[in-house]
Amino acid sequence: MKFSSIKTMPKNVVRDTLKSIERNNLMSAASVLSVIAALIILGIFLILTINVQEVTKDVESKLELKIFLQSDFTDTQKATIEQALEKSDLIEEVTFESAEEALEKFTVSLEDYAPLLSGYNSENNPMPASFVVRVTDPDDMDEVQTLAMSFEGQGVEYVRYGQEYVEALVSFNKFTNTLSIVVLVVLSMISIFIIYNTIKLTVFARRREIGIMKYVGATNAYIRAPFILEGTLLGLMGAIVAFLIIRITYYYILGLVGGNLFLPVDASLASPDAVMGQLIFFFLIYGGFIGAVGSVFAIRKFLDV
């Protein structure tokens, strides 16, 4: 019996819902606008979070650990260290960089200021020789560092990786995640409240009809359906408009910046298309969800007849 009543519902429900949105056009518009505003703010945070995650991942994958050797290391020491590193599962690649190579690389990286280094040659080279290690998993950096440090004084001078930098990035990542969740919760409550009020108006306008439906024996699910549909539609409308606004703006800003991130590292943003894909997916679910939740709250007390 329940199933059959749901089956014949769509035609009447859709008709009544559209009529109701039209009748309440002002409040409906206010609800859609509030969802748009909430989602635009959320969208900004979401894009930020996705990109920070992407940059962190990118930076981490490019991260190298440098094991600087003592200036007077012996070939035996070098061989022992190299062997130990190559045996470890945590390490993907080990490259030896001699002092001469290091100086050369440094000179190249200075470009215009290279003449500053012109006084140095292989006789008085200040650069230490080193092993450049790439790890399989950035999380294992610490362990590899410990491994390398076990050779301290036996050829190893010190070990360096962008520790502070990575830590800063990871904590920034955590910060944006937390911030996004806080923003999500606060804005959700506001949007749900506004949709709740809109649907309450609709429910109030149709309270006579609800009363009649109850007396004739309509189930609560049947009575609730058009209101939930209305709230969900409002939420979805807001989601779509917000998405379009964000999409246009984001591509515009990307065009202005031209991929230049002003970041002190070589890292790329997440692909805009992928970000937008995630965004529309999240927006539709979120918009529909808060619309439905607002409606459920709004109709609850009118169902108790």
């Binding site: 009543s5 006579r208 009809e209 004739v216 024996g217």
Partner: protein, 229 residues
């Protein structure tokens, strides 16, 4: 079948109960008037039948089901066994006569085909076939009440409950309405009419239950109005 077993209903601890230890039995196919002054407990009686409220003590049975024991989810299905006619009609103004009656079938999930077949029959039964496409505000009070009756019987309820069905109508129209109710009763539906229209009660010579201050004072099978106005 309606049965009240020692039913007491109080709304407020500080006030006297709306119904006091009421026991009664209305058999299937009966036609019964329920009379009493305002505040005698008539509305409470109807609300208990519809399970809008629950009895404080005692139990209410409809077709052998203990209404007090129904879960919230089962209430709509209880109401589908009953048709309800209100004094103030309660028609949907933005729907035509046909749509108002069809609505009661839509709600419980009847197919379009069934609806198209049954609605004209019900409207014919109350003599409103020619008004099918009119809207409630275009109809007289008597006609509106007939639409309400058509809506109440469209799903073949076993019990028809009428709350002051003639309260807003002139005497002549009232008789028309009552004779429609009588016809429905003749076809096997239990009919309970709550009223204080003395003339109608006296003319009909049906069973009369009289409530006074929440107590069932008189249960007269021959149609005597149980209190002096």
């Amino acid at each position: 079948m309606i049965e009240f077993k020692n039913v007491t209903k109080g709304y407020d601890k500080n006030k006297s109960d709306a119904l006091k230890n009421v026991s009664l039995f209305i058999d299937k196919g009966e036609f019964v008037f329920l009379v009493g002054r305002s505040g005698a407990g008539k509305s409470t009686f109807i609300k208990l039948l519809l399970r809008e409220i629950e009895a404080t003590e005692g139990s209410v049975y409809i077709n052998n089901f203990n209404v007090s024991k129904l879960s919230k989810k089962e209430i709509p299905f209880l109401r589908r066994k009953m048709g309800i006619v209100f004094q103030d009609f309660r028609l949907l103004e933005n729907k035509s006569v046909y749509e108002n009656v069809a609505y009661a079938m839509e709600i419980i999930g009847k197919s379009e085909k069934q609806i198209q077949k049954r609605v004209p029959l019900a409207l014919d039964m109350v003599g409103l076939s020619h008004r099918m496409n009119h809207y409630p505000h275009e109809l007289s009070g008597g006609e509106q009440q007939r639409v309400v009756i058509a809506r109440a019987i469209i799903n073949n309820p076993s019990i028809l409950i009428c709350d002051e069905p003639t309260g807003n109508l002139d005497p002549e129209t009232s008789y028309e309405i009552i004779s429609i109710l009588e016809e429905i009763n003749r076809r096997g539906t239990t009919v309970v009419v709550v009223t204080h229209d003395r003339e109608i009660v006296d003319t009909m010579k049906k069973r009369v239950l009289t409530l006074e201050d929440g107590v069932l004072k008189v249960d007269d099978a021959t149609g005597r109005y149980g209190y002096e106005v």
